[in-house]
């Protein structure tokens, strides 16, 4: 891989007794679109602030281009931030906002003016240069904030929930816009979000955080298909987590005896011994509903309790023998006469779709939030 721009070296941050960030230890590559994802209070914003210089690590080091900047104030660090509410200077025009950075750095006017013009071009705001920020829409303000940061050609651009203040439509458009701008300028983007969809859409790599710890770092595919922990499995997308015990191996697959009864085969990256408590993750969209069981140990039996039609797909809630609930997303249109509440069904999957993780989930079956959403839909 290419050069590391930002390196966190065993960074720890505590506020009194509360540990906000615990042993963060990872690098961000040059030109990468890197996301820090997690629920609120997981320490992602604190980590970003330590990179920006607004917070200082309690222990450990933050390295920028190989230099320790842990105690360097923000104005001496070559990183720039796009703040959550943009924090544009209301008393300055758009172009003066963009000029602010180079002017403070005492870059000669002849040198920065072309860059300012170019950046306004990149964010498509050239014709709004003389407006005040209050005369712009939310999306435009967002782009001013981007241009204001990018005009300094920072080693990395830090974005703190950059899309949170926008409405849904605009947010989706801005996701592609951000990606385009990042490709165009080739600067490393580090962005913080609680929205997994945003992170999956835009990032090259994602760091999933929870309770101050980095749970997993990987590409969106890795994180989605091979989550390192139960938290990651449940936080990213929908997942059915079925507890069980390791019964043995069969080729590359591990054989797991589920608490719900059946014995199934699952792919895994972890090494477990026979008898270890594990969970098998099944993504709802990887499950198909069939009337007959599959012979190769890649199916489970249950009773349909709910069918929610969603257009292209239908979500079915299936009760297993141990009363845990599993959600499957099936394509509608195919004739599935046995899919009605009360009927018996086999949920089966292709090789490689079931993934085994260490430990047991707090609650077996589909993630609680998914169940709640579906129940609400079924009631309405």
């Amino acid at each position: 891989m290419s050069d590391v721009v930002i390196q966190l070296d065993h960074v720890q941050k505590s506020f009194g007794d509360f540990v906000a960030v615990e042993q963060a230890d990872f690098g961000i590559q040059q030109g990468e679109f890197f996301a820090m994802l997690g629920p609120s209070g997981c320490g992602k914003t604190t980590t970003l602030k330590m990179i920006a210089g607004f917070e200082q690590p309690t222990s450990g080091k933050v390295l920028l281009n190989g230099v320790d900047v842990s105690r360097v104030p923000p104005y001496k660090r070559n990183v720039n931030t796009v703040f959550q509410q943009y924090a544009l200077f209301p008393h300055m025009t758009v172009v003066d906002n963009v000029r602010f950075g180079p002017k403070s750095k005492k870059v000669p006017k002849s040198e920065y003016e072309p860059n300012v013009a170019q950046m306004l071009e990149v964010v498509r705001l050239s014709e709004f240069a003389d407006r005040k920020p209050t005369q712009l829409s939310g999306g435009q303000q967002q782009r001013v904030a981007l241009a204001r940061a990018l005009v300094n050609f920072p080693s990395a651009l830090l974005l703190d929930e950059p899309l949170a203040a926008l409405d849904l439509k605009l947010r989706e458009a801005m996701q592609f816009e951000l990606k385009r701008i990042q490709r165009e300028v080739g600067i490393t983007f580090v962005f913080v979000t609680h929205d997994q969809g945003e992170a999956l859409t835009m990032s090259d790599r994602i760091a999933v955080m929870s309770d101050g710890r980095v749970e997993q770092i990987g590409t969106p595919e890795e994180i989605y298909n091979s989550p390192a922990t139960l938290f990651v499995a449940g936080f990213i997308g929908s997942a059915n987590l079925l507890p069980g015990e390791v019964a043995g191996t069969d080729g590359d697959d591990t054989v797991v005896t589920l608490t719900a009864g059946p014995t199934v085969r699952a792919r895994t990256d972890i090494i477990r011994r026979v008898g270890d408590p594990v969970s098998v993750m099944l993504r709802p969209e990887r499950l198909t509903a069939t009337a007959e069981a599959r012979a190769d140990g890649r199916s489970i039996e249950g009773t349909v309790s709910d069918v929610v039609f969603q257009g292209a797909t239908a979500r079915i809630v299936v009760h297993l023998a141990d009363d845990s609930e599993v959600i499957a997303s099936v394509i509608t249109g195919t004739d599935l006469p046995f899919l009605h509440p009360g009927s018996s069904v086999h949920l089966s999957w292709d090789p490689g779709s079931a993934y085994m993780l260490a430990g047991w989930p707090r609650r077996p079956g589909a993630t609680a939030s998914d169940i709640d959403t579906l129940e609400e839909l079924a009631d309405s």
């Binding site: 923000p74 544009l88 403070s104 750095k105």
Partner: protein, 354 residues
């Protein structure tokens, strides 16, 4: 016939509203200045009353369209009539008086005769008082900014949960009358008062004398005492508007400036100061204008050598009984302040106020 209420559709309701407003305001001002007297005044007041009644009738009985258009004029009317009677009318009377002549030293009524001599006298005889008024109030205004800005800054950004308590402390002196507070300072600054005693004890007399703040070992009756009094009395009027404008400044803007390579000092200079200027501007107006016309501080803390124009105007009105001259002096004071404010707002002015 249906039971529906008959709605009056007036064709140009906004013209009716504006017409009624101007007519009533003009007539009330005319009565106030005694241009209309006797039966004419009664007639005028009757017309004012009738125009109010007409407005109320149209506003309650009119079609929705009419009511919507006439409502703003109805809401303006009480304020405008108040200003016509208690601001426009006295202003006009004062202007008329300033161009009048007293037939004799002891005459009560002045005759209006376009006598501009009053203005000449105001300028020639009271030059020093005008100068002192603007110098003292100017210095006091600068001092209130110098003292008030940091205080407002601390309350706004560092006040935390004590914010309201601290603001309360700023306002608390208003619970005591302006006059009493000034007289209290007289006793504090007097020759046997606590301030002079302390200065003597710490042997600071010499230093303060060199700085021009004491005169022959006295604090009281010096220009410094008058300026001090003005500064003390008008400080809250500076602190409160600055506080309001600072409080609205988003602290994240300071973070953004630091992120964009500004030190704390230049972030303050380039972001916080410009955003708080409307407050400084408002505070300056609230301090400088009344301070320039003030006579209480010069009266109790100053000497005959520190009289300000306010003292002279008061003297001419109430002691010398030269109402035309006093009126002319008042007008000159008003004009100079207006010119100052216009120039000031051109330089510092914000879109909000100018």
């Amino acid at each position: 016939m249906s039971s529906a209420v008959v709605r009056w559709g007036v064709r140009r309701p906004e013209m009716l509203g504006l017409g009624a407003l101007l007519l009533a305001g003009g007539l009330l001002a005319a009565v106030g200045t005694r241009l209309l007297t006797g039966p004419l005044a009664v007639l005028a007041l009757g017309t004012v009353f009738a125009s109010i009644v007409a407005l109320v009738v149209v506003a309650t009985m009119g079609t929705p369209e009419t009511r919507r258009k006439i409502a703003p004029y109805g809401l303006l009317k009480p304020g405008m009539l108040w200003l016509a009677l208690f601001y426009l009318a006295p202003l006009f009377t004062l202007l008329r008086l300033s161009l009048s002549t007293l037939p004799s030293r002891f005459a009560v009524e002045a005759n209006f005769d376009w006598n501009f001599d009053n203005y000449v006298t105001a300028f020639t005889d009271f030059g020093p008082q005008f100068q002192r008024a603007f110098m003292y109030s100017g210095i006091a205004t600068i001092l209130t900014i110098a003292i008030g800005y940091p205080l407002a800054y601390v309350i706004a950004f560092r006040g935390g949960k004590f914010r309201n308590l601290l603001l309360g402390l700023v306002v608390i002196p208003f619970f005591t009358s302006y006059l009493i507070r000034t007289i209290a300072w007289r006793s504090i600054l007097s020759d046997n008062g606590i301030a002079t005693g302390m200065i003597g004890k710490f042997r600071l007399t010499w230093m303060l004398e060199t700085m021009g703040m004491m005169d022959n070992g006295r604090l009281i009756n010096t220009p410094a005492a008058v300026i001090f009094g003005l500064t003390y009395n008008f400080l809250p009027f500076m602190i409160l508007p600055i506080y309001v404008s600072l409080e609205k400044v988003d602290v994240r803007l300071v973070d953004a400036a630091k992120d964009l390579y500004s030190t704390s000092t230049s972030a303050f200079r380039k972001v916080v100061v410009p955003l708080s200027l409307p407050g400084v501007f408002a505070g300056t107006l609230l301090t400088f204008i009344p301070a320039a016309g003030d006579f209480v501080n010069a009266l109790y803390l100053g000497s005959p050598n520190t009289t300000m124009i306010g003292n002279s105007i008061q003297d001419q009105f109430l002691v010398q009984n030269n109402v035309p001259l006093a009126s002319a002096m008042s007008f000159v004071l008003m004009l100079i302040i207006t010119v100052f404010v216009i120039i000031y707002s051109r330089f510092f002015g914000t879109e909000d106020l100018a």
